[in-house]
Subunit: 125 residues, 2 copies
DNA sequence: GGTTAATATGCCTTGACAGGTATATACGCA
DNA sequence: TGCGTATATACCTGTCAAGGCATATTAACC
């Protein structure tokens, strides 16, 4: 066994693109190492190593199925990230509003003379 | 001038703890380099370098105030992170529910032989 | 123009991490 | 027991980023 790595923050874990890919893949359902390997076209040791990191960080857990190991997501670390992100949400939604007001002012109201009624709804869907 | 770094993903940017600290600090209001330096007790070049990375990644912008530069947050990259995280939100809130049901089942109904009535309400309430 | 304050940048060193390849371990089965 | 499959781990190596320190830049003010 190795010496235990120092509890890396969830942020460092998801900084790695391949790990994000693995996590997204596990979103559909639990997967074996081999399935991940094939779908993401990564060498098997690479997959195993990333899974190890993900497991140590609590992003995934595994169960044994014969020679296979099935990996599935665990929610906690995602919440940690989300919690941090939450502080900024207030800030950036304020900016969305400002942007929308700005766009509304810019908005070409279908080339007619009518400055037309306040378009309010249905920006971006 | 240096050669431009290759557009690192927002995830790599926020992987660095000092950068997260700077971002959180800027949440209250815009700050000069010196103010950040003092509040976070970092050497000035360290602060400047992190701010450079943050600016290149679009997390902050700056304006000039005499010899000072005032840095403030920009929302876009946060949304990028949030968008990625969103896929998992459905998943982890499902788990909150599952956990709660689980705990309800586990709940020691005050040690009696009775398998006793299903306690339902007031978990974490 | 010289001096001081505020900030940016360059250079260097160091450590961490990801990938590659080989190998070990564990399981199932004949 | 021996073999094939599935997965984990060890070792090596290249790369890259962060920090320390010195220095360049820019502005204000005398």
């Amino acid at each position: 066994m190795e010496y235990t790595r120092g509890m890396e923050s969830a942020f460092e874990i998801i900084a790695e693109p391949n790990r994000r890919a693995i996590l997204s893949l596990l979103l559909s359902s639990e997967q074996s190492v081999g399935e991940i390997e094939r779908q993401l076209r990564m060498p098997q040791p690479t997959v195993s190593k990333h899974l190890r990191v993900l497991r140590d960080a609590g992003f995934v857990e595994s169960t044994v199925d014969a020679q296979r190991r099935l990996y599935r997501l665990k929610p906690e670390p995602f919440r940690e990230v989300d919690t941090w992100l939450a502080q900024f949400r207030r800030f950036w939604s304020a900016h969305v509003d400002a942007l929308e007001r700005h766009l509304d002012r810019m908005d070409p109201p279908t080339p007619k003379k009518s400055t037309s009624s306040k378009k309010k709804a249905s920006r971006r869907g």
